[in-house]
């Protein structure tokens, strides 16, 4: 039976990867992901987990090893963060078009310079288009649950794509909180053994990763693009089954107190919880404010988002990434595209907040809602604004 325990979120994620019976774990430690792979290496060393733990020389090698082991048919898990994730970049595009269902937890962290080990979403926004399925966890329980869900979805033979679970570095990774840890029997009941559609097998040789000449490349990328779009049904179904088995329901987009809300905050990740508290406070003061949380970032759940937020007058989007020289923050830009020329669609403003570990407080959310209301009346010059930045 599942057991509710006080546990550090990183350790709970390591437990999830263990309960999923990961077979190969190539990983390189980096703050704030370290505790995840550290605990997995301990599980392997103590014999609690029968897996190969490969202490590689870099994240580039980690992801290369992941490609090899997944291609050979092994259930493969890794984890990274920030600069380490960036060092993986060259490899990250490969397993997705090659349809290798690697599962990776990314403890989101800022990118240098200046050096920052603290939380924001710049590391993963760099990797927005790698063609992996991507989810964002709001709390420790979700980090545990989404890790199991990731194996289930990634390895589904209709999907067969790699998957990233994003958890906020420190804000989630280093917090001890109550998490219901499922038993081995329960996880086994949810997650069948990995049976890849194709694998590297000397008895039945195939070639993976050949050259794609101009006559083939577009078709290969199109096939990948359609596969990730089609994966949404499996993602939702796997969440539904999770809810049926364990009672916790997850959806691609979640709303909080959105009934009759004219302004809706839009968040991803752990700041959603603080945003809920902010919404409660503003509701108490009589404001019609709601919250929309994006859990599934890739494939982007367009229909679900339109359904959730289409009736708002104003969307105040929190972007945890400052893209210099861009028109808008990445989440804001996505939503602007989604609603472009849709009749009666909300006005959308992007607020860059919570960079490099800067706290996003209830007061900040109130400020953001006030500003979004004001901008809706008078079109601002810029489509995004950095919140809480000191001038002098």
């Amino acid at each position: 039976m599942a057991k509710r325990v006080g546990i550090e979120v990183s350790i709970a994620i390591a437990e999830a990867a263990k309960l999923a019976r990961s077979e190969v774990i190539p990983a390189y430690p980096i703050t704030p992901q370290t505790h995840i792979v550290e605990h997995l290496s301990e599980f392997v060393a103590s014999g609690e987990l029968d897996a190969e733990f490969i202490p590689v020389e870099s994240e580039h090698a980690a992801m290369s090893c992941c490609c090899g082991s997944s291609a050979a048919g092994a259930r493969t898990f890794t984890s990274s963060s920030s600069q380490g994730l960036s060092l993986m970049s060259e490899i990250l595009y490969i397993p997705s078009t090659m349809r290798l269902p690697i599962v990776m937890v990314v403890a989101n962290r800022a990118l240098s310079a200046p050096i920052s080990i603290w939380n924001d979403h710049q590391d993963i926004m760099v990797q927005r288009d790698i063609g992996w399925i991507q989810t964002f966890a709001e709390n420790g329980q979700e980090a545990f649950d989404l890790t199991l869900h990731a194996f289930r979805v990634a390895e589904d033979r209709r999907v067969s794509l790699p998957m990233i679970v994003n958890i906020d570095g420190f804000t989630l990774s280093h917090v001890i909180e109550p998490i219901e840890i499922l038993s081995q029997e329960e996880v086994d009941g949810y997650l069948p053994p990995f049976k890849p559609r194709y694998k590297l097998d000397p008895k039945k040789p195939i070639t993976m990763g050949p050259v794609g000449i101009p006559e083939v490349y577009t078709e290969a990328k199109m096939a990948h693009s359609e596969a990730i779009k089609a994966s949404k049904r499996v993602i939702i179904k796997a969440w539904q089954e999770f809810a049926d088995m364990f009672g916790r329901q997850y959806n691609p987009v979640e709303t909080y107190r959105c009934e009759d809300a004219d302004v809706m905050l839009v968040t991803m990740g752990s700041i959603s919880e603080t945003a809920m508290t902010a919404v409660d406070k503003m509701r108490e003061a009589g404001q019609q404010v709601g919250l929309v949380r994006i859990r599934l970032w890739r494939p982007f759940p367009s229909q679900e988002f339109r359904r959730a937020a289409g009736k708002a007058k104003v969307l105040a989007v929190i972007d945890r990434c400052l893209p210099p020289g861009a028109v808008c923050g990445p989440v804001g830009a996505e939503l602007r595209s989604l609603f472009y020329k849709v009749p009666g669609s909300p006005k959308i403003f992007s607020f860059v907040a919570g960079l490099g570990g800067r706290d996003v407080t209830v007061e900040r959310f109130e400020e953001i809602v006030d500003k979004a209301r004001a901008y809706a009346k008078k079109r601002p010059r810029e489509l995004f604004e950095v919140i809480g930045v000191r001038e002098k």
Binding site: G6, V175, I176, T274, M276, V360
Partner: protein, 182 residues
């Protein structure tokens, strides 16, 4: 919801104390968070750790700005950092000190409620080490009852194994010796 800030020095076990309290609260069926001051760990430098305990689901990821309770593990810290910073009006500061209440108020300018215990002496006598984290948990229990003694002892048993007994003894002694002011 009760919010706690622990002041210590890197290596003194402040984070472990926070963990033990949160785990004990969760074992009792409550909701809790424990987290360090995020960042690189530096032995000897003044550091903080935080706890939230609540009967309801905790929906915030903010840092702790206005603690109900402050625990100071190191006797030398109140002269270095403002341990009462952001403390709620009816909040309490729990100090490891050999000084009397009057001396503490005069020396550190603290006007809030106080709980005082000479944890250095207890730790030296019971543990043989100047590590006061578990000792100060006794003072925290006496002053606030934020978790039950039983739950905390269980968490210590699991965490410390064969050295749990000594730590529990230190905690009990601090519980008995802590003076809570009005």
């Amino acid at each position: 919801m009760k919010e706690v800030r622990l002041h210590g020095r890197g290596g003194q076990g402040g984070v472990t104390s926070a963990e033990l309290v949160a785990i004990a609260a969760i074992d009792e069926g409550k909701y809790a968070q424990a987290f360090p001051s995020f960042g690189p760990e530096r032995r000897g430098a003044p550091v903080a750790a935080f706890i939230r305990v609540s009967d309801k689901v905790i929906r915030t990821r903010e840092k702790v700005y206005h603690p109900d309770i402050v625990v100071v593990l190191d006797h030398s810290l109140p002269s270095l950092v403002n341990v009462a910073e952001g403390l709620k009006e009816d909040g309490i500061v729990i100090l490891n000190t050999a000084l009397s209440e009057d001396e503490v108020r005069k020396e550190f300018g603290l006007t809030c409620r106080l709980a005082l215990v000479d944890a250095n002496t207890i730790a030296a006598e019971v543990l043989g080490l100047p590590i006061t984290n578990t000792t100060m948990l006794g003072a925290l229990l006496k002053a606030t009852g934020i978790v039950s003694k039983d739950a905390l002892e269980e968490a210590m048993d699991r965490r410390f194994g064969r050295i749990a007994e000594k730590n529990k003894t230190a905690m009990h002694r601090a519980f008995d010796e802590t003076v809570v002011t009005g």
